[in-house]
């Protein structure tokens, strides 16, 4: 009973938040609606007993990815009127992409792979079941190769991010800490003995 109430609450909130992402005018509000949507989906994953994935969804998407989104949206100073100008011009492309996505989603949902096979109750685990542990054992025995590929992709992401964003400007100065630390008194301070001045 509680479970169903919680599910319908979060599912409804998720739909609402997702709708708001694409309908609200202010991009910051849209990003925050997306955060809410992530929260609701985490709650739904939790209802499916996917403890680890639910919390990682919050950790990675809400705690990291959306922070970047907010950063970009808040600081890029997007001019909305300029963005709206091209609306009618891009409309045909937009509609065709939307139709494509709707069709592919429909194909996936009707493919019969999205049923629980009626034995959802069997998915429930005892209180001491550790989702993280099961996932770890699967990941580091059967799925070692994909795991290493994930590592390589992350490396690629680091290199790509740096080469895309890093611009060296000639007029900037960076403190050389090793030089600062290596400074000795002798090279910089000279003690001078002076006679006391008299009237």
């Amino acid at each position: 009973m509680i479970e169903q109430t919680v599910f319908y609450f979060f599912a409804g909130l998720l739909l609402l938040a997702a709708t708001m992402v694409i309908t609200v005018k202010n991009p910051v509000h849209a990003a925050l609606s997306l955060v809410l949507a992530f929260f609701c989906s985490a709650a739904i994953w939790l209802l499916l007993q996917a403890e680890f994935l639910a919390i990682v969804l919050i950790l990675v998407y809400v705690g990291a990815v959306m922070v970047l989104f907010l950063f970009v949206i808040m600081m890029l100073d997007i001019n909305l009127t300029v963005l709206r100008e091209g609306f009618s011009r891009f409309l045909p492309v937009g509609i065709s992409v939307a139709v494509l996505m709707a069709v592919s989603m429909g194909l996936v949902i009707t493919s019969g792979r999205f049923t629980t096979g009626g034995n959802y109750e069997a998915l429930k685990h005892a209180a001491d079941y550790s989702n993280t542990r099961e996932l770890g054992i699967a990941l580091f025995t059967d799925y070692l190769y994909p795991f290493e590929i994930a590592g390589a992709i992350l490396l690629l992401a680091i290199v790509a991010a740096i080469s895309l964003t890093l611009r060296k400007r000639p007029d900037t100065k960076t403190p050389k800490v090793e030089k600062q630390v290596a400074v000795h008194r002798a090279g910089h301070v000279r003690l001078v003995r002076m006679e006391a001045e008299k009237e």
């Binding site: 509680i2 910051v28 680890f52 950790l59 809400v62 705690g63 907010l70």
Partner: protein, 364 residues
């Protein structure tokens, strides 16, 4: 004070709760609610007296007396009623919402700062049985909740539409995000050592016949240090408080906030500080375990050990604040990325080698 929390009345109910008719979980929910209110009240109480302690400690460090006037019915009692007076004052002040601010987000920001700061307390164990939500992924939950702290700050800075607030929130976000990585790796070390994400299990894994030498501060000494210092940076405390930097950007992200809205940020900051202190005690100093394992009476594990250790770290927070000058921003980023991150990566390897090699007495 925690007596009724200890007799875990609801755990037999808990297993059946999802299938029980109304009566079963009404009792259960009431029980949970009471426990949550007790935990929240205790955290708020600690918050109030940490602000008092902060003023007293700073006064002693600077050879002053500190607050000593506010009392009850003419009894001054060293100014112990000061936090109450502060609270009442904050509530009766006007909440100023700047004209050009985004009103909704401006109001939402302090609430978003406070929510996660309190939510993290749901999984903190106070002793072997006194824990609200004994989830398997406790540590993961904590790290997820602390990573949300940045939202209150970013939104506050942006919604205020003030240059100082904006600068403060930007600095703060980059700083928090940088130190979160070292913090995460330090937690991974503890995890590798304990082999469990459950905070209670982590404490119990630290018990042994050598008392305090069995705790993880010793094999994970660099991580202990990195975690606590990152905690200072995460909570924007001195020496990492460029977020507020009075002399540069006035008060940072909350410059436009007044009255209780400001106080809410204040509560969130101190709640996070108390959380970091209690987590450091749990993860590295054996939580409720006694340092004198094996000796009668004083060797028994007790919640008072945990509270004592937490108080010690809280005092350290205050002591550090009034002792060190503020770091420069580039120095903060350097420390996070170029010093702490390499150390933590190396120590993850060292810890896992120790675990695989079963180094006694911790990992045998």
């Amino acid at each position: 004070m925690f007596g009724f929390l200890r007799d875990n009345v609801w755990s037999p109910l808990a297993g059946a709760v999802l299938s029980q008719p109304y009566d079963g979980y009404a009792v259960y929910l009431l029980d949970v609610l009471i426990k949550i209110i007790v935990v929240v009240a205790c955290v708020l109480f600690t918050f109030a007296y940490t602000t008092y302690a902060e003023r007293k400690v700073s006064a002693w460090i600077q050879l002053r007396i500190g607050p000593n006037r506010v009392g009850v019915f003419g009894f001054r009692m060293f100014g112990l009623a000061q936090p109450v007076a502060d609270g009442i004052k904050a509530i009766f002040k006007e909440i100023i919402i700047p004209t050009r601010a985004s009103k909704l987000l401006f109001v939402l920001a302090p609430i978003l700062a406070l929510g996660p700061a309190f939510a993290a307390w749901a999984v903190i164990p106070f002793n072997d049985v006194m824990v609200l939500a004994d989830i398997n992924a406790g540590l993961l939950y904590i790290i997820a909740m602390t990573s949300l702290a940045v939202y209150g700050i970013i939104i506050a800075g942006w919604a205020s539409n003030s240059k100082y607030a904006f600068l403060g929130s930007l600095r703060s976000a980059a700083q928090i995000v940088s130190y979160e990585i070292s913090m995460g790796f330090a937690l991974v070390c503890v995890l590798v050592a304990a082999g469990s994400l459950n905070l209670g299990d982590i404490v119990n894994a630290q018990s042994g016949k050598y008392g305090f030498l069995n705790w993880y501060w010793l094999p994970l000494l660099p991580m202990f240090y990195v975690y606590f210092v990152s905690g200072l940076a995460e909570t924007n405390r001195l020496p990492f408080d460029v977020v507020e930097g009075e002399s540069e950007i006035v008060a940072g992200f909350h410059v436009e906030y007044s009255g209780i809205a400001f106080a809410t940020f204040f509560i969130a900051e101190y709640t996070n500080m108390i959380l970091i202190s209690i987590l450091t005690s749990i993860l590295f100093l054996g939580g409720w375990l006694s340092p004198f394992q094996g000796i009668p009476v004083v060797g028994a594990p007790s919640i008072f050990w945990l509270l004592g250790k937490t108080a010690l770290f809280l005092f350290l927070f205050l002591w550090i604040r009034w002792t060190f000058p503020r770091y420069r921003y580039d120095q903060i980023m350097r420390l996070g990325w170029k010093v702490f991150l390499p150390i933590t990566i190396v120590w993850v390897v060292v810890t896992s080698v120790m675990v695989v090699a079963k180094v006694p007495p911790w990992f045998s």
